[in-house]
Subunit: 214 residues, 2 copies
Amino acid sequence: MSNKISKSVIRRLPRYYRFLCELEEQDVERVSSGKLAEIMRTTASQVRQDLNCFGGFGHQGYGYPVTKLKDEIINILGLHNKFKAVLIGAGHIGTAIAAHMKFDKAGFELVGIFDNNEDIFGSRINNISISDEKEIESFCKENNIDAAFLCVPRNAAAGLVERLYNSGVKNFWNFTHYDIQGDYPDVIVENVHLSDMMMTLCYSMNEDKNEQTN
Amino acid sequence: MSNKISKSVIRRLPRYYRFLCELEEQDVERVSSGKLAEIMRTTASQVRQDLNCFGGFGHQGYGYPVTKLKDEIINILGLHNKFKAVLIGAGHIGTAIAAHMKFDKAGFELVGIFDNNEDIFGSRINNISISDEKEIESFCKENNIDAAFLCVPRNAAAGLVERLYNSGVKNFWNFTHYDIQGDYPDVIVENVHLSDMMMTLCYSMNEDKNEQTN
DNA sequence: TAGATTGTTAATCGATTAACAATC
DNA sequence: TAGATTGTTAATCGATTAACAATC
């Protein structure tokens, strides 16, 4: 299936998925590209183009069956996976991630949390005990860990990534500013640069302010 | 100045900014588009196009002066602003944001934190006391709040946004899945959809897995 | 001057939107 | 059948890359 879906389409899929889940909850059985476009605030054209990337199974004159479409997106994104992940750094952000995220809904299973602060070793987040960061290598090798969620201070990042990489972990969700791909071109990384986003918000607000002045 | 810089360029500016800060720290005085491209992992062509959006002040045969370029980006992004912001929801994510982010480096000043859990009223994060959510209206009106960082559960979001909006807050950093712009088309919103990002990572890993199998 | 590197135009590539025949 | 709505092709738009003359 699928001749290479473009990055822009992929980035929209979780959004489709969310809205389709909502429609399903409201017992809506079918939806047209026009209606979906309205919800997604895009064009009907784009919706049809997007959904056609993975084999059209809308029905002319009818629309798309909500549940079937939702299930298909689950499939494309691979949300049925249970990629084994460890979280490194149980500070505020790490704790927030470990406690809040519904890993199973996004294809992951959180199986370990590590930190270097011995005061919190053994305490539990989301029913997972916090372990000594020194055990990362043995744990990752023994448990075939697929991914690491990196929630540590920037200066700790490079060393940890090296150790994780050497323990077979090749996929990262990176909350630091350390540029993983610069050093390891073969890994898969999803970067979360919160401060970049805040600056982008600042830009829009600043622009808006200037427009009003002019 | 500047005939409308495109969204894609703006999204890259914080990255330029970060790398320029690093170069400055290393006392590097000038940098060529080629070198910058290498650091940013893009093309020299794109770097020159980007930097030219806001008036070329590189020098032929020399490159770009690091500090001047950095300062210019500060200007474009408006990082010298001190937009007054409140944070709503002092759970894990809210606390992480309030405690970690360098607001002043990104054009903001955090002046209030609100929650609905009376057990934590009065306790401090980043030297700001947590207040009763009921006081949001009066506080925002009195203090001319520019932006709200929304870190509450999804079902609390709509009500809070309505109250914030009516108190003059028109800019949001939104960590919930509530679609603010759907209800208030005139507000400025920067959405952070962590679960969407996790799904995108899942997609890449899933694709990678399938490629290896084939 | 010669070498380096920019500013800028032109070419390419990709993503979005429009249009419409196919068909449920 | 008539109306609705898809699948798909073509047109447009925007972003990236290539090329090269200008110039420090």
